[in-house]
Amino acid sequence: MRRVAIVAYAQMKYTKNRNSSREVMIHDVAREALSMAGISKGDVDTVINAQNDYFDGRTISNMKTVASSGAYFKDESKIEMDGAFAAFYAYMRILTGNHDVAMVIGESMASCYPPYLPGIWSLDPTFDRPNGFLNEISAAALQARLYMHKYGVTEKQIAQVAVKNLKNANKNPYALRKMPQIAQKDVLQSRLLYAPIRELNAYPLTDGACAIILAEEGKARQIAKNPVWIAGVGCCHDTYFLGERELYECASLERAAEAAYKMAEIKNPQKQIHVVELHENFSHEELIYCEALGLCGRGKGGQLIDSKTTEINGSIPVNPSGGALSANPTYATGLIRLCEVAMQIRGEAGEHQVKHEVKIGLAHGQNGLCAQDNIVFILKGGDK
């Protein structure tokens, strides 16, 4: 099977209200990624966009980004899911041998759409939507409550996730929400959205885009002296109905991780994974995901955060970039996680670089209410 690597990437300073059009924003990251790779648009074989019509406010949103993403006369497609799924599709396109180099771009501008509404529009229109109760945050609130009840996880432990991530974000030049002096009490006293979810436990509405370039082995070695190999990937789609899922765990993430670990030959994630970047829209999600990924035992999320294992200088740093809690341009977030893990493996994460050597990293993306869809990538540095 062909080997495919991430060879270049580009992020941007994430903001609440970016002072440019969406198309120019996309163009900026596309150009920067090409520039890092030292290639031109002509060297790219296929372009995959990750955007959503209901977020962008226009149908067939990829139609007008042909010029900016560099898709002119290229084999282009659009994945209407979190950016990590678009990277997965691009990866499979290269695996077939039909394409050698792919550009993947994800973007969202929260300043352009009514907050949280696009999530409501994905609800079942017969029962859930007319109720008016379910939305991203209220669903997360139900999940948080259930998780706390099931395993005795406390609000303080959940708040500590936000403290960790927002402190990490302070060292990330791209992050939107940075709070260097943040302490647990700041989180616990922040505005209640839907109990028990507080403002600082929820992601910030963000404008941003991210681009990564994937290439098959031969081209990857020409383009980058340290390509980051995709060693394993897995994804899974769970049932829609919240009542049918055990919300205190994440079955689709467990299955996605299982597939990714199998492909990457990871038998002991706690020992073998050196850095983790999760798409956590809410603080409690990070703990649930850590359990699902096998980074700690089932129900042990609270103990995990207490043990400081997942701090930036812990043995399994989780979200050294600050994660989605620091910046969440929804359709780009999964790509940003891939980008951040690649940066860590290449030693290019600057001030938020983890101290120990990083050869293997895990990047995660999610889609749908309470992470109905999940995708896990295992990335490996070095020659293997």
């Binding site: 019509d53 209901y54 406010g57 149908t59 042909v66 209407e80 396109r93 789609h237």
Partner: protein, 406 residues
């Protein structure tokens, strides 16, 4: 790259309103038919690929709601949407999933339930950002409507007519042929057996040269296909249909560019991206002379005149020659290169599904399962086409009764 084949096909009858089912239930009908056709159970599926145009139903990412109905429970699932070409892009997504080596049996499903929404609004939302800018700089709503509502298709038609000798009578006759084909297709929406070119010519003119009789309806419908690796396909199906070549190519949207500015797609009839995609797809399939080797074509034809344009852009004849070939009967069901035996998009248009149905029709014809509309000649190689965006994304698929010589 490993070989892959279509082993199961499911279609629903396209109608203007399905008030008895919601989206998950409508799509389930096609999925069930495809799974039964393949003789498999949902647990045999390794992954799903799905898509539709969400503006038409008012539901963002409907596979979140319906995926479980379609066999997607706890499976890998991805969503692909590209406008009118969605069905073909979804199918190609499934081809990539199988060809990549990661998944053996994949379900591709595309659909549209247009009666749930307002089609005009759904279409208008493609242009809102541009409209905002154009009005800010002095164009009025009605003027923008005139340029947009009349649509790029009439310009594509007149430009093509000037270059090819295609007349409005040709278009009337093309529409009549397609409507008669559709009348033999139990799944098609508009079935008008016996309609003649003269009947079509009597329908009111919308905007020269487009008559009402030349245009597509809006439909509720779904299409599902099961793709499998060669090894599994040979076990599952007596006659697998091999997907030997596929490609897509994107250019700038025609007429109105970004923010209402200029678009370098000057002539919407040129469709260079279609020629590029077709060239790549044929090369991948090992087809060197498509005009000789292709037995059947299903271009994406929502407006009757496009039968001629896309016949040419799919490299099945010299540019400008399609109307002459049509006059000779080449494209009829008993012709040498039957085109759109299904009745084409002009007879059934559930936007998300339309481009996939072109692939499904080619497969049914290759299998000899097209019933009354089965073409006379044996079909060994067929080409299917999807058109998306503002005539800017062309998606071409080449199918065969034998696996590729890769």
């Amino acid at each position: 790259m490993r070989n892959l084949a279509i082993v199961g096909i499911g279609l629903t009858k396209h109608v203007s309103k399905r008030r008895d089912v919601n989206i998950p239930e409508l799509v389930y009908e096609a999925v069930k038919a495809a799974l039964d056709d393949a003789g498999i159970h949902p647990k045999d599926l390794d992954a799903l690929v799905t898509g539709n145009m969400p503006a038409f139903e008012g539901i963002n990412c409907p596979e979140l709601w319906g995926g479980g109905y379609w066999g997607g429970y706890r499976k890998p699932l991805i969503r692909i949407t590209t406008g009118g070409s969605t069905g073909a892009s979804v199918a190609q997504g499934a081809f990539y999933l199988v060809a990549s080596g990661l998944y053996d049996i994949v379900l591709a499903v595309a659909f549209e339930k247009q009666s749930d929404g307002n089609t005009t609004i759904g279409l208008n939302t493609t242009a809102l950002a541009d409209v905002a800018n154009m009005t800010a700089y002095g164009l009025s709503g009605p003027e923008i409507e005139a340029s947009g509502a009349i649509g790029l298709f009439v310009y594509q038609a007149t430009s093509y007519m000037a270059k090819s000798g295609c007349t409005i009578e040709h278009i009337d006759r093309a529409a009549a042929m397609l409507r008669n084909n559709a009348a033999k297709n139990p799944y098609a929406h508009l079935q008008q057996a016996g309609v003649t070119a003269a009947d079509i010519a009597k329908t009111p003119m919308i905007s020269y040269p487009l008559r009402f009789g030349h245009t597509c309806p809006t439909s509720d419908g779904a299409c599902a296909m099961v793709l499998a690796t060669e090894e599994k396909a040979r076990k599952l199906s007596r006659k697998p249909v091999w997907v030997n070549g596929w490609a897509a190519c994107s250019e700038e949207p025609a007429i109105v560019g970004l923010f209402g500015a200029g678009s370098i797609n000057v002539d919407p009839a040129e469709q260079r991206s279609c020629k590029l995609a077709a060239t790549k797809a044929y090369a991948m399939a090992g087809i060197k002379e498509p005009w000789k080797e292709i037995d059947l074509a299903e271009p994406y034809v929502p407006f009757a005149y496009q039968l001629f344009i896309y016949f040419e852009r799919l490299l099945l004849c010299d540019e400008g020659n399609a109307p002459r070939l049509f006059d000779k009967g080449v494209m009829e069901l008993d012709g040498n290169l039957p085109t759109c035996p299904s009745g084409a998009v002009v007879s059934s248009n559930a936007i998300g599904a339309a481009a996939m149905i072109r692939i499904a029709e080619c497969a049914l014809q290759i299998k000899g399962e097209a019933g009354q509309r089965q073409v006379t000649k044996d079909v060994h190689n067929a080409v299917a086409h999807g058109l998306g965006g503002q005539a800017n994304l062309n998606v071409v698929t080449v199918l065969s009764d034998m696996p590729s010589r890769r």
